[in-house]
């Protein structure tokens, strides 16, 4: 891989340029699909961009220096982690280069909820604390099936490279593992029916209750970048397409990512919020069950 192709991958696709464009378009698509499901018209496509600019231009309230620093550093770290996840997705790996290391990707993905939980507690708001505690409990529940499903794929592939993890395991491992990963997407993105963590109106704005102006803009950006990163990771794992040409891979990657957004938005619009304990039970029963099937299939080598 030459320097120029590495830069193209990091800065254009699937790096920074694609990440920002897709993130805002995905937020718009989500809001539009939910609006259409409720027989409303919904926001215009430029809405998330103007929301971001407006929040950046607001004057933040004055805070004690250390608290202000931490409340700015946490969302910045979360934005950096999700941008890193997207840039490292091996969408075009056929043309050489970074094969994608699952351990690195998962650690970057898990950094975002960690920052989110810390952010809720350092804001020293009662509702921020409740939201952060809920998110921490949910992290423990959904990460069990999420990580076991990834372990199953890794055992089936015999390595941590995403290219081999995506294409080597047998269908008996891949189908339940991908299903378990798909089940964890809505809770990772704080969508109904698993939206207990930032339950809007119920606990005000959850962990983000105290975040204002530019800091809130960074959190909103993190949230939509997570959309791109997580739907992208699932797409890369589900459709490895060995031997396909680069434009085909890129187009399929974009198409499947946006289809996943539509699917998640429809589920979100059609369901109501569950309680934290119900969500934890769901993931420890059904999510874990599906993930363990994949793990057993990988261990006995079906």
């Amino acid at each position: 891989m030459t320097l120029s192709s590495a830069l193209v991958r990091l800065l254009i696709f699937p790096g920074l340029l694609y990440a920002f464009a897709a993130a805002w378009l995905m937020e718009w698509l989500y809001r539009k699909v939910v609006a259409r499901a409720q027989r409303r018209i919904g926001p215009p496509f430029y809405q998330p961009f103007f929301d971001f600019v407006k929040l950046l231009a607001k004057k933040p309230v004055t805070r004690p220096a250390l608290q202000g620093f931490i409340m700015t550093a946490l969302p910045l770290a979360a934005v950096a982690a999700s941008l890193g996840t997207i840039s490292l997705l091996p969408v075009l790996q056929d043309r050489g280069g970074f094969p994608g290391d699952l351990v690195l990707l998962v650690s970057l993905i898990e950094l975002v909820p960690l920052c989110f939980v810390l952010a809720g507690f350092v804001s020293r708001s009662l509702f921020g604390g409740i939201g952060a505690a809920r998110e921490a409990v949910l992290t423990l529940s959904y990460n069990v099936p999420f990580l076991i499903a990834l372990f199953a794929l890794v055992i089936g592939a015999g390595g941590f490279s995403i290219a081999s993890v995506a294409s080597t395991p047998t269908w008996a491992v891949r189908v339940p593992a991908l299903l378990a990963l798909l089940m964890t997407l809505p809770v990772k993105l704080h969508l109904n029916p698993f939206s207990a963590a930032d339950a809007e109106q119920e606990i005000y704005a959850g962990a983000l209750t105290e975040y204002d102006g530019p800091r809130l803009a960074l959190w909103k950006l993190t949230h939509v970048l997570e959309w791109v990163a997580l739907t992208g990771l699932w797409t890369v794992l589900a459709f490895p397409l060995p031997g396909a040409a680069a434009p085909v891979r890129a187009l399929l990657f974009v198409a499947v990512s946006f289809l996943l957004v539509v699917l998640l938005a429809i589920v979100s619009a059609a369901t109501a919020r569950l309680k934290t304990a119900q969500i934890a039970r769901f993931y420890w029963m059904w999510g874990l069950g599906v993930a363990v099937i994949a793990l057993i299939a990988a261990l006995i080598g079906v």
Binding site: Q38, F50, K59, P60, V61, A205, E210
Partner: protein, 166 residues
Amino acid sequence: MSLIDTLVRTARRRSPWLYHLNAGSCNGCDIELVACLTPRYDVEQLGIRLESSPRHADIVVISGPVTRTTCEALQTVYAQVPDPKVVVALGSCPASGNVFAGSPTIVGPLERVIPVDVYVPGCPPRPDAMIAGIAEAVAILAGDKPRPVPTDVPVVPDATETGVRS
């Protein structure tokens, strides 16, 4: 006017987020405001969202005649909203006290407690009138329209000190 300035003003016009505060309202104005979010009016087309935290808001929408118990909360919440911010008084109660005028349990009108930029009269006002009022608030927010000159109504300086909080 620089490019960034134009961009910021356009963004403020396109994305006003509301925070709604009930200062002793009878719930009439409140349900009419919620009606703005329904399919019939669908203010999300205009980028308007009802936010759940005052820290996220640009426009504070206040209904009710401002009772003694809500006076302190109003001042606290108003101070929590980051600048630039605009206050919309919803209905006749915050403007004049309406049928509660002269009651010992109210502190209103609202401009005694916090500065008010836009009044939407009515008991309750129609959702159309509320959207028109919010549009006026957006124009003030984006700098297209000047803020109204404050009136010389005697102001309650701090609710806790003056003892208006019962």
